[in-house]
Symmetry: C2
Subunit: 187 residues, 2 copies
Amino acid sequence: MRRSQATRQRLQTVAIDLFTEKGFDHVTVEEIAAAAGVSHMTFYRNFPTKEAVVLDDPYDPVVAAAVTEQDRELPALERVRRGVLDAFGRLQEPEDRTVRQKIRLASGHPGLRARVWENNLRTEEVVVEALTATGIPRLEAAVAAGAVLGALTAALFDWAGDEVEGPLGERIELALGLLVSSEVTGW
Amino acid sequence: MRRSQATRQRLQTVAIDLFTEKGFDHVTVEEIAAAAGVSHMTFYRNFPTKEAVVLDDPYDPVVAAAVTEQDRELPALERVRRGVLDAFGRLQEPEDRTVRQKIRLASGHPGLRARVWENNLRTEEVVVEALTATGIPRLEAAVAAGAVLGALTAALFDWAGDEVEGPLGERIELALGLLVSSEVTGW
DNA sequence: CGTCGATATGTTAGTGACTAACATTCTGAC
DNA sequence: GTCAGAATGTTAGTCACTAACATATCGACG
């Protein structure tokens, strides 16, 4: 079981490098597996699809949990906003390079982009559940979750783009800060 | 060319019926083609992918155009909102049954749902372009487009669900109306 | 009518993602 | 050292999708 973790890590690193070099569509699973020294079946036992290698992120459940933990006196939007910030502060991944590579790949490929939204939708559902459980109307919860996650995704894609300076964490704080100010000014 | 239009229509009707009956994943393209009395190549000449049969909707470009036509004095959100309403009022499709079938299929299947978001993203981009061209800041434009399109999609999926009464148009007006009131009340 | 060019369709053969079933090796606990 | 279970490999298959080339259909035009 220790062994499989190493294999999984190797597969992911190799895959992302190949995708970055040759483009997602021009790398076969067979190729990835060979480069990692395993068969294609081992690839599929570690990742359900070729896309999953890029999209695998542990953020979603953590975000939902962090939102749940916020002060219940706060308005919905603010709870989601702080939850997201807490979550990212909590598991700040050290390897900025890989993260940026992944986000860049995802933002530049239609199929991958579509999956990102699919992931967002799932997070949104969990967040909405968490909010409505404390008495917030469903529509308000949905709008809050949608707005914050939308802004977050925009920030991620933006950060992955050409030479945006500064670490990811800062960028996220900035984007979510803008969300608040645009609310205050009545848009 | 008259002929191909009929073939395309037949393929779509047959496909959606089969999907509804057996589930998207349990219908092969070969099967659809056979049921429509053509070969699988004719299918792919009419639709780029299997998913496209369900997702094919002419709304996106029309929405962008309608937003462009709105009064430039209005705030961004209101322009997008009215644009969407105008667009749907303009090309109200008569065949409610097929529309509902399509939306229901899309909302109930992960891969299709992902594509819906992908479509939304494209519409969003065009709308944002239209708004920024009249001097609205990019972020504000993005938020307005994202919020309205998000609400619209939610309304569509909701309407497709179990026995929601009333026609689609009403449902959309209701959802977008809620968007305005939640803005006015400051959430 | 007959020819001809464009459009619509078919056939065949292939690639590549993904799955199922079964065989093999490897690792850790006893 | 043995043995169960985890990790991996092999093989064969399905299905979405593409390329290349062949055929058919239809409308104009002489």
